[in-house]
């Protein structure tokens, strides 16, 4: 059973998004995603200042099994990337919703983000279990 914090939003591509008080958003991949990928060996991060549309490839996470794209759940400007991941990509495995965050962005249009609430994401996970 993967962990699912109630205060976050989620995407079909297994990213999570947290709306911060200052209007920015923090993005990472879910516990389910890190568990499916297995031990991560490498994370490719976007450049700070990059302008992304919702659905753009934002980062690449590579594990011993596979390399996988991480998509921007919302359009916006990259404010900060988690540079600790360069040396410690396994932080995503050990703490996907905390130290394993990937990108902080200033979103353009949160109303049109590709996200869902925890209940909808749980349903998606349940449907994958079948």
């Amino acid at each position: 059973m993967s962990e699912l914090p109630g205060e976050l939003l989620y995407t079909e591509e297994h990213e999570w998004l947290r709306q911060e008080e200052d209007g920015t958003v923090t993005i990472g991949i879910t516990d389910h995603a890190q568990s499916a990928l297995g031990d991560l060996v490498y994370v490719e991060l976007p450049e700070v200042g990059a302008e992304l549309d919702a659905g753009d490839e934002m980062a690449v996470v590579e594990s011993v099994k596979a390399a996988s794209d991480v998509y921007a759940p919302v359009g916006g400007t990259v404010l900060e990337v988690n540079t600790d991941l360069a040396d410690d990509p396994e932080k995503i495995n050990t703490d996907p919703y905390g130290d394993g965050w990937i990108v902080r962005m200033r979103p353009i249009d949160m109303a049109n983000s590709n996200t869902m609430d925890p209940n909808a994401y749980q349903e998606l996970l349940d449907s994958l279990e079948d």
């Binding site: 991560l40 490498y42 011993v64 099994k65 596979a66 996988s68 994958l128």
Partner: protein
Amino acid sequence: MTEKLIFEKSRPGRWAHAQAPAAAAAGNIPAQFLRQDRPLLPEVSELQVVRHYTRLSQLNFSIDTNFYPLGSCTMKYNPRACNALAMLPGLLNRHPLGPVSHGQGFLACMYELQEMLKAVTGMRAVSLTPMAGAQGELAGVAMIRAYHVARGDHERNEIIVPDAAHGTNPATATMCGCVVRELSTGADGDVDIEALRHAVGPKTAGIMLTNPSTLGVFERRIIEIRKIVNEAGGLLYYDGANLNAILGKVRPGDMEFDVIHMNLHKTFSTPHGGGGPGSGAVGVGKRLQPFLPIPVVGRSDVDGSYHWLTEKDLPQSIGRLSGFMGNAGVLLRAYVYMRMVGRDGMRRIGEFATLNANYLQARLRAAGFEPAFPERRASHEFIITLKTMARTLHVTAMDVAKALLDEGLHAPTTYFPLLVPECLLIEPTETETREALDRFADAMIAIAERAKSDPASVQGAPYKLPVRRLDDVKAARNLDLAYRPESRGEL
């Protein structure tokens, strides 16, 4: 037990005749080009060298020693005759820069190989020049690009790739300056036709398809797919990874593919694996013929002699991919193999590759294993998913793969394709006997039983190999292949 590196067996002053370089060879090299320090080479006796490498080869899994059902890799037996004939002195000693008149025998073999590949794939022309599957793909997509550009159709830069494809497909498209549009797969394993209809448009350069796909099933709606892509102005690329399944039965040319790459090292049985020399020969239909990579072997209408076709003959060619034409040794082995099996043998390859896969799938299914596409017949390979075992017993596909090694069986492909959770992609190939297939099925069944009665014993496998579970993460992140004397203490 840790195997020592050959460097660790080194003792100053020890040497071997067989490996010693001839001192006289350096006599004519100007002093400024000679290195100052001696190279770091192990100092060992000839017998030590023989024992060291013989031991290592015995620790290895290979098709010569073990059942090797690595899916999508077609690790079939490479007949010894192919090696023996490809290594005839006249072929081995041919110099690639020698005059064409001195290499007519070799060129005749290559010309006939081109002709046989045309016949078996139904394509109009073949170039043997790509050095490996990935280079064949690169050549194929480069030809598609060249075709559109030659028509002034500069805007077509989208390549459609199903999500089940080999990772090399999107990589190739990107390397050729194209944008990849991923296509989803339906629940039955076929491409989602509705998604395809939405994906095509005025920017569509082409689609890359593997048929049978990496899901081990034949793309049944291929004619419809071709129509949709062609009507949008795109071309069809056939990835030959799974050509073995349809050999002698279905021809990509008849499915009206515009270009195909063939992994001669897989389908036509030359030794491969470990990144060694390969061959990614490409075949094309009418539209792409002018763009074939050079050189190609031509035959004179006047006297039947053979010669190289170059830029002069194919001015629109995408060019050369290497200094010479492919890996001659691999091409010769493929030639001998095709001549040995002949037209009827070619059909039996496809039939037995498919029969073996379906037999194994049926046996595993009857024992309770879960095929990824239960309603589909397997092609030459099939997928089982161990997601239930992983969920209920916490024994994963990787654990089962490791346990197979203890049984002296090479593991199938694990965790590919990515669409299927906890999957094993199993390709027995046509060269295995029923006894070998049964032994594999029995081992799988025994491991599944053990996963129920004693899951920890499967999670801890392998037990009988020189090394146990390796640290994959460390291996990927701290790759260290160079021996340094100062690192000796750490080993």
